[in-house]
Symmetry: C2
Subunit: 196 residues, 2 copies
Amino acid sequence: MPKGDLPKTRRGRARREQILRAAEEVFGEAGFAAASISEITRRAETAQGTLYIYFKSKEEIFRELVVEMGHLTRTVVTRALDPGATRLEAERAGLAAFLHFVAERPALYRIVEEARFVDPAAYRDYFTTFAKAYEARLKKAQADGEVRPGDAEVRAWALMGMAKALGERYALWGDPAEIDGVVDEAFALVREGLAP
Amino acid sequence: MPKGDLPKTRRGRARREQILRAAEEVFGEAGFAAASISEITRRAETAQGTLYIYFKSKEEIFRELVVEMGHLTRTVVTRALDPGATRLEAERAGLAAFLHFVAERPALYRIVEEARFVDPAAYRDYFTTFAKAYEARLKKAQADGEVRPGDAEVRAWALMGMAKALGERYALWGDPAEIDGVVDEAFALVREGLAP
């Protein structure tokens, strides 16, 4: 089977999924260097040979998790949106969805951050892809008069950075019960700025 | 000599400084795990025994660089400020100073980010200390009517995250000549927000 393709059978897909979830746990706890294939297969309750049907290497599993985090983040953020929402409403809902998601899947957040060192190309690709899509949405909102004119690329990176730092402070290190209050405050900053 | 204290002689301080600059280079290029004491002493043109007069271990040198990045960032940002500046003017000058500093010392940025994995306590301490000071300045500005009322802690983390992401995109990966334009755009967002 060409690596990277999804298995054809339901059982194969379930096994691949089991391996990814075990890997998410192990990478999240131990970090990339200390994580071992044998620990991943132990937790996935699979033979090592089975793992190698689906993935070439530890590196490939790690990269797959980074890509997965990208898909999941986009899905979670998109699902949180009311289809008729304005861009500002979408900013608020997207930030809330992202912070709750980080609180639920802290290992994936950590894996993406570790990718900066383990797989710099995957790391850069992750954020660049996300920023490009974000930029396009901000440009459209500008054209529709929903946000003030401004450089959509700079805004996309600034807003992503804000969400990332708030995710670290409040979703990873803090009390998830605080998240909704944090979203209110951060959204007020994004909407109105600091000027009195 | 108790480790962590500065050497008493000028020559000792110069040697310690040489070791730190070599370590900044080596950690920045190779990352913590691949960096070796022997490569650091080779570039510092020092004997290994000399290095151990000043530092207990590779871990201690790494931690010292994280602490140094904290001091330097605060110094660079503070120096950029006109003493009579309002908080909003200070936000702009601070962001510009930070982005130019990241462009000049990319290895230090990378070292702080790697600290999340190498020395999580130092990483968390770095950002928590910075955020506390930032929060205090924002609170004062609020009391002085220079910024709109709002949660200073959330704002501090949001603004730090913004600076960090812009540093990565424009100071590490981009063209430093773009930095001033990026500061203009990011500052407009911080001042006025997105609302039309």
